[in-house]
Assembly symmetry: C2
Homo-oligomer: 230 residues x 2
Amino acid sequence: MKIGIFGTGTVGRTFAEKLIGLGHEVTIGTRNVAEKLADTSKDYMGNPPFSDWHKSNNKIRLGTFSDAAAFGEILINATNGAGTLTVLDSAGAKNLAGKVLIDVSNPLDPSHGMPPTLLPHLSNTTSLGEMIQKTFPEARVVKTLNTMWCGLMVNPALIAGGDHVNFLSGNDNEAKSEVKRLLYQFGWKDECLIDLGDITSARGAEAYLPLWLRIWGVTKSGAFNIRMVQ
Amino acid sequence: MKIGIFGTGTVGRTFAEKLIGLGHEVTIGTRNVAEKLADTSKDYMGNPPFSDWHKSNNKIRLGTFSDAAAFGEILINATNGAGTLTVLDSAGAKNLAGKVLIDVSNPLDPSHGMPPTLLPHLSNTTSLGEMIQKTFPEARVVKTLNTMWCGLMVNPALIAGGDHVNFLSGNDNEAKSEVKRLLYQFGWKDECLIDLGDITSARGAEAYLPLWLRIWGVTKSGAFNIRMVQ
């Protein structure tokens, strides 16, 4: 399958590597291709520059946001939540129309110090997932995987035999089914996928982040998740 | 032990019954004792009037918020989060001073419809737990048990053999130890108690509520909780 990924950071790279490994074709989108390839600095998390990573992952195409959007049959938003709507605008509404858009990002606000809070205009009475769906009504937005470290998103079996949960929110049930088929390829078990309902339920999944960040502060490792018990 | 509970709703009643059963003495506080006993209407959740419940739980004293605060060696806030600071003001700062104040409430805002959102002035960059601690600096506030249905708060063994988590936040480690001793009496296992840190970490525990409410919308029963897996 052809998959377009928005975002060249750790999350975008993690999806790209996994998807290539599964036999999919991938284009990662960035604002400015030449600038991205010329950048030799580590990111603020200490990750190597994209160009270094790209040398050892050269099956993955790099293009503009618009290129990635036009290329993908399925699209993945792995950008910083604060910039997502600008990125998608630059990707172009016509390139998103009719496509499943998997949103794994969170509207984090680092401006008040660590751990980040949530951006008020994208949380509580709304959510990033909802705002994407509202701004691009022809995209088929599915919020999922945003409640965990990216290493687990594409490899749930890394901990506890994969027995932990992932939530899905979206208005389009067929889009959710398509996303589930991709999640199964990552190793997600059907009984671990919890459909929270329409896209407004992304409010719940995104609101979990402040708790996730506090637990991370205790565990000192992102390799944890939650399981539901009843 | 003498325990004062603020709030005559389901949560307050649940704590009172459990604590009496464990051999503690309990005073529940309310705004106006005569009015509360004269009220014969069901609450908005369809629960029987307090006076009916009180007839079959007559070991439990009813007093003003101030009476309950003065009575208790340990205090439990089981009021509606929106009204908590007013209630505690009426309980009296001098009656709270030096005492462990267990805060199990959430700053829910039903004004935008169901499920409730969080009150903006008590969430995200702050929390109800923090605001209680800030307003009553001599109280020893411990936020805990707010991430689940009240039936589980006092009886974790009701599901999954009690193997699910409860978070604690607070500035005073000795206060957290006192709270843990009470939690053990309820049946909580030490390995299920996660100390998130100081009272600012209540932001995380309270932020979980929007997700809890969405999961509840799916499960249709409050008898669920989360377990951590690593």
